[in-house]
């Protein structure tokens, strides 16, 4: 396994700010991993995301993408080609007046041949369930639809790493399901995924969860390990997935069941007892 992203002792201070938004961050993400990052508002998640493709460069320490330093002007173009970013607010990510032009913008800049661009547009739109909107005007779509177009725009670049910075926050349940399915499929095909989210349910299938608080990484492990430390999560302003919180109530009331996280597991536990 090679390392996709490496943070070495990274600190970051915003211009005109005295406090560090990130404090001595150290971690590695292996190629092909699905990593969820959670943390309360203001914990440094988005700052961290923007450091992964060199949008921000560290105040201290190094960020490396496939061994390329984000501070190096010679490799920054290769880094950006490898890291696709999807942000919280799709309005800031739309540039063209027709959906297919918007998606074509990235590949065109990479010099992808015309025929292949067409294929990529169709594939990307289908992946996000927006094929019917190929000739629509992005500005007239609803927030959730726009976000799916933004994701398609990133997909069309065929990056090796996809960073989703609360990209599901504005979607309806169906849209979220679709996007999470798309992301899971891409991950199965080898895409490294960093998914920043407030929906704890979306972290259950991750290989690993990183918990941030006050600009530091405070927990890092498999979902099962992280959710077992629920008291700490609570202190960081986070919550358990709904199923786990229901299991908690039952345990508290004296039922002898495991602290499970998924519905299937909870139902198994209850069937065992009743």
């Amino acid at each position: 396994m090679n390392t996709a992203i490496k943070f070495q002792n990274v600190s970051f201070i915003y211009e005109n700010s005295k406090t560090k938004a990130l404090k001595s961050i150290d971690f590695e993400i292996e190629s092909g991993q699905f990593v969820a990052i959670v943390g309360s508002n203001g914990s440094g998640k988005s700052t961290l995301a923007k450091l992964t493709d060199g949008l921000f460069v560290p105040t201290e320490g190094d960020v490396k993408v496939f061994d390329m330093d984000t501070k190096d002007d010679k490799t920054i173009f290769d880094i950006r080609k490898n890291v696709g970013m999807v942000f919280q607010n799709p309005d800031n990510q739309m540039i063209a007046t027709i959906v297919e032009d918007d998606i074509a913008f990235g590949p065109e800049n990479l010099g992808v041949p015309r025929e292949e661009i067409k294929e990529r547009i169709d594939w990307a739109l289908e992946s996000v369930g927006m094929s019917d909107f190929k000739r629509a005007t992005p500005f007239k779509l609803s927030g959730g639809q726009k976000q799916r177009i933004a994701i398609a725009g990133v997909l069309a670049l065929k990056p090796k790493i996809m960073v989703l910075d609360e990209a599901t926050a504005m979607l309806d349940p169906g849209g979220r399901r679709e996007v999470m399915n798309v992301v899971a499929d891409l991950n199965k095909e080898g895409m490294t995924v960093i998914h920043i989210t407030h929906y704890m349910e979306e972290t259950l299938n991750a290989d690993r969860i990183i918990v941030m608080d006050g600009g530091r990484i405070v927990m890092d492990g498999a979902p099962k390990e992280i959710f077992a430390r629920y008291k700490e999560l609570d202190a960081y302003g986070l919550a358990l997935p709904t199923v786990a919180s229901i299991a908690d109530i039952l345990i508290e009331k004296g039922m002898n069941i495991e602290r499970v996280m998924t519905r299937d597991a909870l139902v198994e536990e209850l069937c065992r007892l009743m």
Binding site: E166, D172, P173, G175, H198, L238, A239, I249, R263, C271
Partner: protein, 287 residues
């Protein structure tokens, strides 16, 4: 009856090639003191609908009355309407603009031309109501606050108008779990002064847990207005509409498939836990 909607139709850019009917012949009413949820996939017309409640959008046809004010008339009292209906948009923190929290929250009451002491009192009250410490934040720049705090300042700006009806478009979207809980607790607290609340939400667990009734929109049409425990019985319909069942209902159904039938379908976590515990005691008692 605070809000009554009869045969409301709204078309964006009518009589042009871009005409798009966003709301199609909608009728319903919202009762006094009701917590009314609105769900529907993105683009179903939810945000378009609520913008009619304070006259930001005018119906293409049909009739809307809000606290007795007939909005289908050519002229009506906008000032009274805007002070009766407080509208909190999606991501309202993007609309903060003033230099200090205090002056941002004071913007609305100032426009009502209230006396200065009244404005000051309302601003203080609104900031405290949303759970912020007035002395701590009043002179701060809104942009120095955290995401959750900024959203609460934006809501304070609406509350300072003392609306009787509070309309919120996805009030907890993008907030961390703690921030979400704070906003939901805040909404409950505000019901003393703004008893009628209308909430758009994409979080089925959240809306099922708080709403008295839920309206379902799809492609501009109003399909259902039902209490959550009735609405979420229709699993196929809910999935077809790009929505989801609350987790409690999914667990209820999964248990039923395995032969454990709870006496009713719960829409709140605590309710589900109680039903399971009752069933458990019953099954133990049988041995």
């Amino acid at each position: 009856m605070p809000i009554n909607v009869e045969n409301l139709t709204f078309t964006y850019m009518p009589k042009t090639p871009y005409a798009k009917t966003a709301l199609d012949n909608i009728s319903f009413s919202i009762e006094d003191g009701e917590l009314f949820g609105i769900i529907g996939s993105t683009g179903s017309g939810k945000s378009t609908l609520i913008q009619h409640f304070n006259g930001l959008l005018r119906a293409t046809s049909g009739k809307i009355t809000v606290n007795g004010i007939d909005l289908s008339k050519k002229k009506f009292d906008y000032k009274t309407l805007r002070s009766e209906v407080g509208l909190v948009f999606q991501y309202p923190e993007y609309q903060l603009f003033d230099e200090t929290v205090k002056s941002d929250v004071a913007f609305g009451p100032k426009n009502l031309k209230l006396p200065q002491e009244e404005i000051d009192a309302r601003v203080r009250e609104a900031i405290e109501l949303v759970g912020l410490n007035y002395d701590e934040v009043a002179e701060k720049a809104p942009f120095d606050l955290s995401g959750g705090q900024k959203r609460r300042v934006a809501i304070a700006g609406v509350i300072a108008m003392r609306p009787k009806i509070l309309v919120l478009d996805e009030p907890s979207a993008g907030l961390d779990p703690k921030g979400k809980k704070e906003i939901l607790d805040l909404i409950q607290r505000l019901r003393d002064t703004s008893p009628t609340v209308i909430i758009i939400s994409h979080d089925m667990d959240e809306i099922a847990g708080i709403a008295d009734r839920i309206a379902v929109l799809d492609k501009g049409k109003l399909l259902h207005v039902l209490p959550p425990e009735k609405l979420f019985e229709m699993e196929d319909e809910i999935t077809r509409l790009g929505l989801d069942l609350p987790e409690t209902v999914k667990i209820y159904k999964a248990l039923k498939e395995r032969g454990i039938t709870l006496p009713r379908m719960p829409v709140r976590k605590t309710e589900l836990a109680k039903l399971i515990l009752d069933k458990y005691k019953e099954s133990k008692g049988a041995f």
